[in-house]
């Protein structure tokens, strides 16, 4: 990936800011998401809640199914590959996907290495639980970061923890003296030039979204008030009673995240939220995959 391509890919993420990216499993769902105001869709065969329920090995989706979704909507289409599975990424690049999510939600293909994302022209988003993970993914070529949260649970607690951790670490890095950044970079296992960027700008060098466990408009607004620049909603929409209505409400909540009167109005009468599982009660913590 040339420097210029990397810049364009960061800039596409800038265009997604203030928006909601929704998991969809069919062209019909993609259409519902687009009509509800999604700024992009994530095409996958099974949403995280079902991946969690089914167990076994979870892989990249069938390219035919992804192409069906690309045909159905005009907004950007993203899809997931397994951590470290660079051939799945090559396949998605070949079908001109708009963004690849190298995702802990699928079964990791490599327990040591992430994909060298600098070798691709298509952009990548990766999950992170803290500043160290985020900057390591950026060093590998990610042009967008999201919290890992705990996908498929409908429990927001992990996403909140990851966003708070990331932002408090950013504030700490800003407060350091310049000559202290070298040791900080060593301790965090990140390249010093990325830490210098954070020190000077008080933010990540790429856009940062919230993901994992967002189920309600209030959850989405909570993540925005904690500093997210946009929100991924996975199982929360299509595992709920009225997906179209809930999807539209989450979109409006992200735009008006600081306006409690509007949030109250659009939280009314949304039907059943996804049932959810408490993140402490599950045996597989997806967020532990890929550090």
């Amino acid at each position: 990936m040339t420097e210029n391509r990397s810049k364009l890919n960061k800039e596409l993420a800038q265009m997604l800011k203030g928006g909601v990216i929704m998991d969809v499993t069919s062209p019909e769902q993609a259409k519902i998401a687009e009509d509800a105001g999604a700024c992009a869709v994530m095409a996958l065969e099974r949403i995280p809640a079902d991946i969690r329920a089914a167990g076994g090995v979870s892989r990249m989706s069938d390219p035919k199914m992804i192409k069906g979704i690309q045909k159905a909507v005009s907004i950007p289409v993203m899809a997931k590959v397994r951590i470290g599975h660079f051939v799945e990424a090559q396949i998605l690049e070949a079908i001109e996907i708009d963004y690849i999510d190298e995702s802990e939600v699928l079964s990791p293909a490599d327990d040591l290495h992430h994909i060298d994302k600098t070798r691709f022209n298509v952009p990548f988003v990766c999950g992170a639980r803290d500043l160290g993970e985020a900057l390591r993914r950026v060093a590998e070529g990610a042009t967008m970061i999201r919290t890992k949260g705990e996908a498929g649970t409908g429990d927001i607690v992990q996403a909140v923890r990851h966003m708070r951790t990331l932002n408090s670490e950013i504030r700490r890095v800003v407060s350091l003296r310049e000559d202290e950044l070298y040791v900080a970079a060593k301790d965090m296992q990140v390249p010093v030039h990325l830490l210098q960027y954070v020190h000077e700008n008080g933010k990540l060098p790429v856009v940062n979204f919230a993901a994992g466990g967002v189920a309600t408009p209030a959850d989405a607004a909570l993540m925005m008030q904690l500093g997210a620049e946009g929100v991924f909603v996975g199982s929360g929409i299509f595992k709920s009673g009225n997906p179209a209505k809930r999807a539209a409400a989450v979109v409006k909540a992200v735009t008006n995240y600081n306006n409690p009167a509007i949030l109250a109005e659009l939280s009314e009468d949304l039907g059943e939220a996804m049932v959810g599982i408490n993140a402490d009660e599950i045996s597989i913590l997806m967020a532990e995959r890929g550090k």
């Binding site: 364009l8 265009m15 005009s74 950007p76 708009d98 306006n259």
Partner: protein, 189 residues
């Protein structure tokens, strides 16, 4: 000079920073109460036009914004903002539909087709132009002045108080386009 930047979704902060670097006062437009006072200018930023178009309706902003534009408030639309202003949209529904152009959405294809180039804009000489899943303009009406072309495609145009760009002048460091818009507001362009 107070310029309202539509802040429903997309890259609105980049516009605000650019305008403030030129000394203009800005405010975000998120719902109808933000438009109590008449702004001197409006910016419709880049992002997803389908999202902004829907939110304009849902949040009750559509009529008010449209009447401001039709009553000569200077407006600049970039990328998705261009699509919102176009009277005709190939492969999509028009939104505000105030400017006599046809917008072709995603004219350069998917993200792999996004690119950066330098080309002349109005009378300012070459400027950096960043195209991200960008639209182009076809069928400009008789009062539309073409301000920039790239590879034969119209990528910037103006009709009276409305300025549209396929590319993203808010992303680079060059404030030439925003300066042009500010001159438009003050009646000097």
């Amino acid at each position: 000079m107070r310029i309202g930047v539509l802040a429903l979704q997309g890259a609105f902060i980049e516009h605000i920073r650019m305008l403030e670097s030129l000394g203009a006062e800005t405010f975000e437009i998120r719902n109808i109460s933000d438009l109590k006072e008449r702004p001197d200018g409006l910016i419709l930023p880049g992002g997803e036009s389908t999202v902004m178009s829907k939110l304009l309706q849902d949040l009750g902003l559509y009529e008010k914004l449209r009447s401001l534009i039709l009553s000569d408030t200077p407006v600049m639309g970039t990328c998705a903002g261009l699509i919102l202003l176009a009277k005709y949209v190939e492969g999509g529904r028009p939104s505000l539909a105030t400017m006599d152009i046809t917008a072709v959405r995603n004219a350069y294809g998917r993200q792999l087709g996004s690119f950066e180039t330098y080309a002349p804009f109005a009378d300012t000489g070459d400027i950096q132009m960043t195209f991200i899943r960008a639209p182009v303009i076809t069928a400009p009406g008789k009062n539309v002045v073409v301000l920039a072309q790239v590879d034969g495609n119209i990528v910037a145009a103006r009709e009276e108080n409305q300025l549209v760009l396929s590319f993203h002048p808010e992303l680079g460091k060059d404030p030439a386009v925003h300066r042009y818009f500010i001159n438009m507001i003050s009646g000097n362009a």
